[in-house]
Symmetry: C2
Subunit: 461 residues, 2 copies
C-alpha cells in the first residue's frame, strides 16, 4: 500500500480555525493611515460609518492579534470549509519535476472562490446592524456572486455593479448572481452620477473596478439602510481571508511538511494575503522561513510597476485616500480575462508589507498563464479561474527550474477559484485570439504622476 | 457547543470503498438478456467487442456480488472522492420541516457531476486495451465533460456528439470539454451516415440522445482503435456508480442514522442506481427498509408512462435490443433544460427492478423543479444541475408533507451535479419564459406501439 498517493490533506469541521489572524499586531512598523480627502487628516470610525457597520470598522482598525469568528459565520463557513489542501501529484508528473506542489483549493465554496470567506462575515455584521441592502462592484464576478450568496444566507438584498467588459463577455455570471437572489447592473450605468459622468465622456467605456466602486459607494452613501461591501483591498477583508492560511498551516502540520515558497495571485490582494499572512507570522516569529510571492498580471502591474503613494480607491474619488501601489485612480486596465485582477491599486496593507521587504512580487502575461491553466486542467482536472492561472504559471515556472536544479522544493499556492463561468476566456486561448499586453516602465510612471496631480493636497506627498 | 450543527459527514481517502457493488448477484430474478437485432438471440461478448473492451464486457455480464476497483482508478477517484454527505440544515429551516434531509453531493468532481465515477474506469480499461480514442454522445454535457476529463487522465483522445439543442443553448459546455482536451460536434452532424439521414429529413432537428448515440457508435464501429463509451443505461455503468451508495452507507453508519426514503433523478438511471442499489441490497437482506424512488421529467416519462418492451437504445437502430421502459427509439423529447434526462429509454436493469416492484417512480414538471432548485440554491448555496432539481422537488414535496404529519422522516437524495454550465436554464426560469410540457397517457402509448412495429422480429414480443 506504500504506492497509494494521498491527494487531499483534510481537516474535519471541528478542526476548522475559529479565529481570524490580524497581521497588524505583528508588523515591525504600522502601515500609514487612510486620509480624509477633504481634511488630509487620518480617517476615524465616524468617517466610515456611512458605508460600513461599526463591527467591521472596528476590525479595520483593530490591533489585536486575533479576532473570534462569530458562531453564525462559522456555521455558514462549514457549508464548504475547511477547504482541501491538495498535493498536485498529477501536475508534478506532467511536468516531471522533483518539486512538491501543493494547492489550497478555495473553489469548493458554493460561489466557487475564496470570496465568501469575507462576504459571509460582511453580510452577517451588516444584518446584525439592521442594514437591509448591500451594494458592491464586481469584475469577473466572483465577488458579486459571493456577496449574493452571503446576503441570501442573512436575508439581505444585494445590488451589484459589474464591470461592463465582464458583464457582456461572461453572461453566465449575471445569471448566477440572479439565481442566488442578487441584482446586477453593467457599469458604468446611468443609475448613478458617477456612471453618468463616465458615459457622457466615454459612451462605450468597458468599465473598470474603480468606476464600479464609485457607483456602488454612491448608492450606499445616500441611504442609511444601505451599506457598501468591498471584496478585497481593506484590512478587514484580508483578515477574513486568513482562515485560508490558518487551515493550511494545520494541514501541513498534519503531514509534517514546511513550505519553501508560498504563492498567490494578486489583484486587490486578498487571496494572496489570506494564504500568506499566517505564514508570514510564522516567519516573523522564526518558526519557518518561506519565500512569499504575489503574482499580478503584466497588463495591470500595480505592485511591480505602480507608484507607492496616496491615491483614491475608486475612479470618482469618493473613497478615503490610501497609501498604496497605484497605477492612478483613473487607470483603465486592458480588458484581460482575469477581471478580478483589473484593479488600479493594491491593498495598502500588502503595499506596506511589500515596501518593508517581507514579500516578493512578479508580473506575468495572460497567454503564459493560460498555458499553465490548461496544463493544470488536463492533469489535476480542475479548470482554474483566470486569476488563479497567474499563481499556477509561477508555480509551473518554479517547478520547471527544479528540474534543472534537482531541488525538491515545497511550493504551495492558493487556487482561488474555478473557472466554470470564465470559459469564454479559455475559448479565446484555445482558438488563438487571446492577446497579451504589457507596459513600458516610463509609460506607467508618467501616467501615474499625471493622475496624482489631480488629488487634493496631502501632507507629505 | 451542543448548538454546533454539522453540515458534512466526511470520509477520509483511506475510508473510500475499494469495490463496486453488482446488484445482479442479489436480484430475485435476472433481467432479460440483450438481443442481437439480426438473430433475435441473446448477445454474447463478441457481439459487443467492436465497441467495448473485454474488461467492460465482462463487467456488463458479471454476476459476482462485488468487483474490485483497479488502483489506477482509485487514484483518480481520490482527486475528489469520497464525496461529502450533507445534512441540509438550511433547507430544512427554510421549509420549516421536521424532516431530516441529507444529500450526497457529486458535484465536487472536477467535471461537476457523478459521471466521472464511470468515465474514469471506462477510460482506464480502454487505455489498458490499447484503444486510442473514445467517442460518445452527450446531452446537457455532464457526460461529455466527464469523459474528456477521464481521457486526459489516461492519454486517450475524446470525440463528443452533443445534442444540438444543448450545443446551441449552453455554449460554455463545449468550451469546458475543449479545455479538457476533447472535441465536440453538434448532433445531428454531417460527419456520419446516421446524422446525414436525420438532417436530410429534418434539417432543423434539435437532436436527441438517441441520434447522438447513433453517430458516436457509427464512428467507433468502423475503426478498431476507436471505442465507444456510454454514460448511463448499461449494467457496468450503473455498477461503477454504486460507489456513491457504498460511501453513503458508511457515512450514515458514522452518525447512526438510517434513511426512510432514498431519492434520485432518472434519465438513463445511473445516479439513482448509484445511490439506491447499495441501499436495495441492505433492504433485500432485511437490514433496513427504505423506500427507493426515481424522479423523471414529465416531458420524458419513460418509467411512469413508457412501455416495458424490447427496443433499440439509439434512434438509428445500431445497438442491441434491450427490454426496458421506452417511449420509442425515435421519440424526440421536448427540449427541456434537464438535457441529461432527455432519453427515450430507461436502464434495462432499473426497468427490471421497477417491474419487480422494488423501486418507485414519479414524474415532475420542470417549473416546479426549478422552484425547488432556486430555493435550494438560496438556502444551501449550491446551484443544482437541472437534472438534480427533479430529485430536490421530490424531497421538498416530501419534506412539506412532514410539516403536516409531524414526521421526522429521514430523506436522502443524490445531488448529481452543480448547474454552473446550465445557468441559461435558470435565466429562463427567472425571466418567466420557461414552459412545461407533459403527455396524455394515450398519446405516449400509441406512439410507442407504432415505433415498436418498426423493430425486427423478436421472439416473444
Amino acid at each position: 500500500m506504500s504506492t497509494v498517493k494521498r491527494h487531499k490533506i483534510h481537516l474535519s469541521e471541528n478542526e476548522m480555525p475559529t479565529r481570524w489572524y490580524n497581521i497588524l499586531h505583528d508588523l515591525p512598523t504600522p502601515p500609514p493611515p487612510y486620509l480624509h480627502p477633504g481634511t488630509g487628516q487620518p480617517v476615524g470610525p465616524d468617517d466610515l460609518s456611512a458605508l460600513f457597520p461599526m463591527d467591521l470598522i472596528a476590525q479595520e482598525m483593530a490591533t489585536d492579534q486575533y479576532v473570534d469568528i462569530p458562531p453564525e459565520v462559522l456555521d455558514v463557513y462549514r457549508l464548504w470549509r475547511p477547504s482541501p489542501l491538495y498535493r498536485a501529484h498529477r501536475l508534478e508528473a506532467a511536468l516531471g519535476t522533483p518539486a512538491h506542489i501543493y494547492y489550497k483549493y478555495e473553489g469548493v465554496s458554493p460561489a466557487g472562490s475564496h470570496k465568501p470567506n469575507t462576504s459571509v462575515p460582511q453580510a452577517f455584521y451588516n444584518a446584525k446592524a439592521g442594514i437591509k441592502k448591500l451594494t458592491t462592484e464586481t469584475g469577473a464576478g466572483q465577488w458579486g456572486t459571493s456577496l449574493a450568496f452571503a446576503c441570501a444566507q442573512f436575508g439581505l438584498e444585494c445590488e451589484v455593479w459589474q464591470v461592463k467588459a465582464s458583464y457582456d463577455g461572461k453572461p453566465y455570471r449575471r445569471l448566477m448572481i440572479e439565481t442566488l437572489g442578487g441584482t446586477v447592473h453593467p457599469s458604468p450605468s446611468d443609475l448613478t452620477a458617477a456612471g453618468r459622468a463616465i458615459l457622457a465622456e466615454h459612451p462605450d467605456s468597458p468599465g473598470s473596478l474603480g468606476i464600479a466602486i464609485s457607483e456602488a459607494v454612491e448608492v450606499a452613501a445616500q441611504d442609511p439602510t444601505i451599506n457598501y461591501a468591498l471584496g478585497s483591498v481593506l484590512n478587514h477583508v484580508l483578515m477574513h481571508q486568513t482562515i485560508i492560511g490558518e487551515e493550511a498551516l494545520k494541514q501541513f502540520a498534519k503531514i509534517d511538511v514546511t513550505p519553501d515558497l508560498v504563492i498567490g495571485c494578486t489583484g486587490g490582494g486578498s487571496n494572496f494575503a489570506g494564504l500568506a499572512f499566517p505564514f508570514l507570522r510564522e516567519k516573523l516569529a522564526g518558526r519557518m522561513s518561506p519565500v512569499l510571492r504575489g503574482v499580478e498580471p503584466a497588463s495591470c502591474p500595480s505592485l511591480t510597476q505602480g507608484t507607492y503613494a496616496y491615491d483614491f480607491g475608486d475612479t470618482a474619488g469618493m473613497t478615503p485616500l490610501m497609501k498604496m501601489h497605484t497605477l492612478g485612480h483613473d487607470f483603465i486596465p486592458d480588458p484581460i480575462h482575469a477581471g478580478g485582477l483589473r484593479y488600479h491599486g493594491m491593498s495598502p496593507l500588502i503595499s506596506h508589507i511589500y515596501e518593508s521587504g517581507l514579500i516578493e512580487a512578479v508580473a506575468r502575461k495572460q497567454k503564459e498563464c493560460f498555458d499553465s491553466g490548461v496544463l493544470f486542467a488536463r492533469s489535476e482536472g480542475i479548470i482554474p479561474a483566470p486569476e488563479a492561472t497567474h499563481a499556477i504559471a509561477e508555480v509551473v515556472s518554479e517547478a520547471r527550474a527544479c528540474i534543472e536544479s534537482g531541488e525538491e522544493k515545497v511550493i504551495v499556492m492558493v487556487l482561488s477559484g474555478h473557472g466554470h463561468l470564465d470559459l469564454p476566456a479559455y475559448g479565446a486561448y484555445l482558438d488563438g485570439t487571446m492577446t497579451d499586453h504589457s507596459y513600458e516602465e516610463s509609460e506607467i510612471r508618467d501616467a501615474v504622476a499625471e493622475a496624482l496631480t489631480r488629488l487634493p493636497a496631502i501632507p507629505g506627498q
